[in-house]
């Protein structure tokens, strides 16, 4: 186990290094200059000398390899650098933003599992029946409705017409727990919609698969009650691949909740990443992407470990 984790960690470090390098290079390849963008805000003509001065100050006039060396050197000493825009430490900003994004994703995953597993199981048990068709229709709908449409409609109905919720935004939990949860539920619910569809579809397929297994027949042959067979021998086994896929989906969501964050004004990591790219804030982009890829790799590792825990046949060796 320990050896396995060490091995995987080494691979992860290598992977993250490649990602960071890739992003660093791509960013310098992308048109648009950080200094120029910053000083051209509000559609004003920037003084070329001022732009040159800022470039100098930001170290953008150094050769690329030197900039890269500086950056990697910084990262190795635990320093993600400071924002090109206002000099805010990147690490601090990520520490502030990351939990908010994770909060949305985890809540969404919880909702998706709590509603998706029963829905998928029901659809599988009634495969071909009307319940199956309704669930299949709803999940297709959930998958295909763009989040920005969902968001706009939710805000229109619940915030503007019914006035039940605020029109998006963020309040720290410590300041106002009730409002925090209310605000959290909107983006989380919207993310959960698509995730629910994935979980429901996966559960359906997986349950159908498990229902055909010999051990389910054995369970029946034991004379167990339906509920127990379903819980212990069908759903329990069917959930293994579902949770794996869910874990991977969650990985993609870190940094992939841009639209939801935008529509609900939720200040998470994805929105931060996009604003950093828009501003060509290289240290911020590299820092955020690095953290996202580390999390992604970690999550994959966790998924594998959880998989091994759920399915005793899998052993963590390589």
């Amino acid at each position: 186990m320990l050896r396995y984790i060490t091995y995987r960690s080494l691979v992860a470090v290598f992977l993250v290094w490649i990602v960071v390098t890739l992003v660093f290079l791509l960013l310098h390849l992308v048109p648009g200059d950080p200094a120029e963008v910053l000083l051209s805000q509000g559609s004003t003509a920037a003084d070329p000398q001022a732009v040159a001065n800022l470039r100098d100050r930001l170290g953008l006039n150094d050769p690329l390899w030197l900039q890269y060396a500086h950056h990697i050197g910084g990262i190795l000493t635990g320093d993600l650098g400071t924002s090109f825009r206002d000099g805010a430490p990147v690490a601090g900003q990520i520490v502030q933003r990351l939990p908010r994004t994770l909060e949305v994703i985890v809540t969404a995953a919880l909702i998706a599992v709590l509603l998706g597993v029963p829905a998928g199981t029901l659809a599988a048990i009634r495969a071909g029946g009307w319940i199956d068709n309704v669930i299949s229709f709803l999940s297709s709908l959930a998958l295909s409705t763009p989040v920005f449409v969902v968001g706009s409609v939710v805000i229109l109905i619940f915030a503007q017409e019914l006035r039940l919720v605020p029109a998006g935004g963020y309040v720290p939990f410590a300041v106002d727990p009730a409002r925090h949860i209310l605000l959290l539920l909107m983006p989380a619910g919207t993310v959960a919609l698509a995730l629910w569809a994935v979980v429901a579809r996966m559960s359906r397929g997986s349950v159908l698969d498990v229902l055909e297994r010999d051990y389910v027949r054995t369970a029946r042959a034991k004379g167990l009650k339906r509920r127990r067979i379903l819980k212990r021998h069908v759903v329990r086994n069917a959930m293994i691949p579902v949770l794996t896929v869910l874990g991977l989906e969650m990985g993609t969501l870190i940094g992939g909740t841009v639209l939801v964050e935008f529509v609900f004004n939720w200040p998470g990591l994805s929105g931060y990443l996009v604003s950093a790219v828009d501003a060509r804030d290289y240290p911020e982009v590299v820092g955020i992407v690095m953290v996202i890829s580390i999390l992604f790799v970690l999550l994959n590792l966790v998924v594998d470990i959880v998989y091994a825990v759920l399915d005793p046949r899998i052993s963590l060796t390589r």
């Binding site: 998958l143 449409v149 339906r226």
Partner: protein, 625 residues
């Protein structure tokens, strides 16, 4: 295939609209009419006009052009690249795997949006950069799926054989591996297309998509969202188009899955899980009528059991797999059911316990069973709940492949405890103690520790012992053992047989139905033998008598095919069992029979009773030796 008609025809209509758009009588998709912006539906503009006064219907159809060609284009491109990477990585492994599959996985580490943003920013917004971005995004998915499938196929015998023969690796990959990884690939493609349509709309919403004035659904939604107050319908049309198309693709994907892998989706799901009885039972003979003097079976008496394929509308529905089977079992007796694969012996035993797969239906027959309390029940007429009370308690089954029949994620002890708790009102701790004792009883050493093991941690023999422990946990009256030793090697086989004999000695009143194709086993364990062929009982009688003087040519052939010593398989009988749909008009064994005469081929032979305790279905039983 019929299942595919609906989604494919909807898709065909959509694609036809898209392809034929230029020749359809549509308005100019770019012609602005700003004074009439946001005009509602009219005769000239069926779906109204957008924020520039352009015709919404036209833009919807042209929008499909952009959205679908991007989605399909990138899905196919990614499929091509991803498949190549997955195949190569999965086949060659090692360093090749590193540079194909693992390299593709780096993309997964990047947030998808960042990737799209970078690609589009570097190459400029537009059709091709978008395809490139989406292709990059989806390639790792394919690579993963194909890689996993390739690993499975790679380990199969015929691939190993080809490698051993020195076939060129590329040829193996293209000719052998590719066709085998195709089913998961096809499903993946339709999944990706659906997902790509959504992503395209999202990217267009962020301004990273198609360049106006070319319409795309995403652009239309983006524009309509701002004008939600003025013209809510503008948001509705592209959203409906998007959702409808995705729905169709998802449907196609589901149907494809079931067509490519027919095993995956049984018709109607799991019927046994439903409380209501869905299949009406055909009228049957009353149980007491079947008790016949020549088969004084006080424990179980099966009469006229017929099992057919039940797939309404499906191929071969109504085909009879088991035909009018009669058999009886006395208390304490061991009956062996023998025959080749497909003879219906396993189905017969499953029918008695109500465990037939959903696609099979009992269309006639009874199975009279005397319960512990003396009540006579027709097991065929029993519903799931009725069976449930008996199963695991009075009637138990031991299955052939214990490694598949034991749930891999639960400990052996738990799987044993739950059958005890299901039928007896004792405490969990007591049940646990009993489970450990049982494991010891069936010969598993160190039972205390083994109870905590998972099935895969036991050896094959131990697994089957555990399986048997589960079956006898509640001291059943009737034990059905379905080829319990087939998957085991000969030494273990003998031990398991000895165990069953042991258990029988302990519970002399227990009746055993032992399904096997191994005559040596029959001789060792059974009191009587029942030979099945093509869904019928062809001969039945006491083991010693049948072996000494068989009364059916098939039995003769069976005995003849057993080589000296221990035999595994029945190989020497020429010909094959006729398929259920193609039964000959006369005796079903006639085509393979040396004794067959014209009469044999005319009509199915009835049952004859050469001796009071023997029967056969052969016209010429007198001549058979």
């Amino acid at each position: 295939m019929r299942k595919l008609i609906l989604p494919v025809s909807i898709l065909a209509v959509i694609l036809a609209l898209v392809v034929l758009a230029p020749v359809l009588p549509l308005a100019d998709e770019r012609a602005m009419d700003i004074p009439h912006r946001f005009a509602g539906p009219s005769m000239a503009h069926w779906l109204g006009q957008d924020e520039f006064g352009r015709d919404v219907l036209t833009r919807l159809i042209y929008g499909a052009r952009a959205s679908l060609s991007i989605a399909i284009g990138s899905a196919l491109a990614a499929a091509l690249i991803g498949t190549a990477l997955g195949l190569l990585g999965g086949y060659f492994r090692g360093i090749v795997e590193l540079f194909t599959v693992r390299a593709a996985e780096i993309i997964l580490c990047l947030p998808p949006l960042l990737l799209a943003l970078l690609v589009v920013t570097i190459f400029g917004a537009g059709f091709w950069p978008l395809i490139l971005a989406l292709t990059l995004l989806y390639t790792p998915n394919y690579a993963r799926v194909v890689y996993a499938a390739t690993l499975q196929v790679r380990a199969l015998d015929f691939v190993t054989a080809q490698r051993a023969l020195g076939t060129h690796p590329l040829k193996i990959v293209l000719r052998t591996m590719l066709p085998n990884v195709l089913p998961p690939l096809v499903v993946q493609i339709s999944l990706v297309i659906a997902s790509a349509i959504v992503i395209e709309s999202g990217l267009s919403f962020l301004g990273l998509g198609v360049v106006p004035p070319t319409p795309s659904w995403g652009l239309m939604i983006r524009a309509a969202r701002g004008a939600m107050e003025q013209a809510p319908l503008l948001l509705l049309w592209p959203s409906v188009a998007l959702a409808g198309t995705i729905l169709t693709f998802n449907l196609l994907c589901d149907r494809l899955q079931s067509v490519l892998d027919p095993r995956a989706v049984p018709a109607g799901g799991a019927i046994w899980l439903r409380r209501r009885r869905t299949t009406p039972i055909a009228p049957r003979i009353a149980p007491d009528q079947v008790e016949r003097d020549h088969a004084p079976a006080d424990l179980l008496s099966v009469a006229g059991l017929t099992i057919s394929l039940d797939r309404p509308g499906g191929i071969g529905s109504g085909m009879e797999l088991v035909r009018g089977v009669n058999l009886g079992l006395r208390t304490g007796e061991t009956l062996a059911l023998v025959g080749e694969s497909g003879s219906g012996k396993t189905l017969t035993s499953l029918a008695v316990t109500g465990l037939l797969p959903d696609v099979l239906k009992i269309t006639a027959g009874t199975a009279a069973y005397r319960r512990r309390d003396g009540e006579l029940r027709d097991l065929i007429a029993e519903d799931e709940d009725g069976h449930r009370q008996l199963r695991g308690d009075e009637i138990s089954m031991v299955f052939q492949d214990a490694s598949a029949a034991l749930n891999p994620v639960h400990r052996i002890g738990e799987q044993l405890t739950e059958v005890i708790l299901a039928h007896r009102a004792i405490g969990r701790a007591a049940a646990k103690r009993e489970a450990v004792a049982l494991l010891g009883r069936v010969g598993i050493p160190d039972a205390e520790r083994r109870a905590r093991a998972y099935p895969h941690e036991l050896s094959g023999g131990q697994r089957q012992r555990a399986m048997i422990a589960i079956a006898v946990a509640n001291r059943p009256k009737l034990l059905l053992a379905d080829e319990p030793t087939t998957a085991l090697d000969p030494t273990i086989q003998a031990q398991i047989l000895a165990l069953i004999a042991d258990l029988k000695r302990e519970s002399p009143e227990m009746g055993v139905v032992f399904v096997t194709h191994n005559l040596a086993v029959v001789a060792e364990i059974a009191d009587r033998v029942c030979v099945m062929y093509a869904g019928q009982v062809v001969e039945e009688g006491p083991v010693a008598k049948v072996f000494a003087r068989p009364r059916h040519p098939y039995t003769v052939a069976l005995i003849g095919s057993v080589p000296e010593g221990d035999a595994e398989r029945l190989v020497a009988i020429p010909g094959a069992i006729p398929a259920p749909g193609h039964m000959p008009p006369g005796c079903s064994f006639a085509p393979r029979c040396d004794h067959a005469v014209a009469a044999c081929r005319k009509a199915p032979p009835p049952e004859f009773w050469p001796e009071p305790d023997r029967r056969t279905r052969c016209l010429r039983f007198e001549e058979v030796t």
